[in-house]
Point group: C2
Chain length 242, copies 2
């Protein structure tokens, strides 16, 4: 049975302006690979209602899961919850359990639970809350859309709580081999190897180091014996890294 | 006049599997901001023909420019040139000027100019070459689509050659201010400020540092006097960072 598939939507002007370098995509990609969910596509959109609604609706269809990051805080530019509710055509309102979680958090920390913070208790109708062990404001799963915070430490903590709830497939395993020759010298035999092991994914990732070219060859699949066989052939083709 | 707009398409299984952390999006975003081109959307797709064709066609419409990164090397998983040609319905063939650039490069370096390397001279009909000062294999611009390498050093060098050819608008300027209070405490006055300076973009980017919450407030726009005015108001609202 093929693995479940997923897409990711990163929401935030700061990524597209170059102010912030996203790290949530890279973290999610690694976690999903280990969990046996195949990440197929990712998009980055700005903090604009129409762009978020369109991307949510495009990506939640055709994938088993959509993970979003960013835009669920208390400030005026945090509009993800509204946009996800609008994408589903569902109402968004303060929800009592989310309200109580936040109320208790701010009571403990001695900070005012003001209107901006109460805004973070607005959850689309029918969603399931995702726990936020760091700053309390919950994310939520609505259908197959999982709405997480953008701050990396919080994104990672929420994802750690969410992933065990999602059915995974076979973890994708990989081995890699460094070859200190230009890709052009290895491309022919490598293509033949990839054709022979068509059940595996064999990728070549070139690099430049101190002015010299090389490539990391990565063999991926779910059957460790097949990966071992392909790696043995690869090493025999290019002994001692080149 | 509004600035030209752009989208980016990152092509590569290695990003979606978590093996490699993309850095080209962040670099492009910063360069475009300085050049006065607004990056509006980014997507990441795997090394699959249909996915690349669909994304190229979706993104080249509705934006003044589309920049792609990855998949133009000599190995079997480098399929970007074919996919971009297919997206435009144009033939792809070895082009003489590209062939000669590569031939001279390999003659200089004493490496065989074999079939895999000759493959990198395949350019869609009607494209303009983009110089690659590092590894010679050229990128190309086809209409408003600019096809660049995925290796960051090469991507950056190709972009540096390409950008001066593209008409930019007013560079987007920004100033930022750090406030060591939770976003929930500043959200109300900040929303009022954003409404008053509706010609600027005012974003709040929260962080967690040593267990304490804070936010960087970033004011962006093209008119430095307006940014100064908004910053003065911001500092007056939250003196000494909080």
């Amino acid at each position: 049975m093929p693995n479940p598939t997923a897409a990711m939507l990163v929401i935030g002007d700061e990524i597209l302006s170059g102010r912030t370098r996203d790290s949530n995509l890279h973290h999610l990609a690694g976690e999903l690979t280990r969990h046996g969910i195949d990440l197929i596509e990712a998009r980055v959109v700005p903090d604009r209602h129409a762009a978020i609604v369109a991307a949510v609706n495009a990506l939640r269809q055709g994938h088993d899961h959509l993970f979003t990051s960013g835009g669920i805080g208390p400030t005026h530019d945090d509009i993800t919850a509204e946009a996800v509710a609008a994408a589903f055509g569902l109402p968004l309102a303060i929800r009592e359990d989310a309200f109580r979680i936040l109320e208790a958090h701010y009571a403990r920390s001695g900070l005012p639970f003001n209107a901006a913070r109460q805004r973070m208790a607005r959850i689309p109708e029918g969603a399931v809350l995702i726990e936020n062990p760091i700053s309390a404001a919950p994310g939520f799963s609505l259908g197959n859309v999982h709405v997480l915070a953008g701050v990396p430490a919080i994104f990672e903590a929420m994802l750690a709580g969410l992933l065990p709830r999602l059915t995974g497939g076979a973890p994708v395993l990989s081995q890699s081999y460094r070859i200190d020759r230009g890709e052009g010298e290895i491309a022919g035999p490598l293509a033949a190897l990839a054709a022979e092991f068509a059940d595996l994914s064999i990728g070549s990732y070139p690099f430049v180091q101190n002015g010299a070219f090389g490539a990391h060859i990565v063999v991926r699949g779910t059957d460790p014996a097949r990966i071992d066989a392909a790696m043995a052939r690869l090493v025999a083709l290019f002994p001692a890294g080149g």
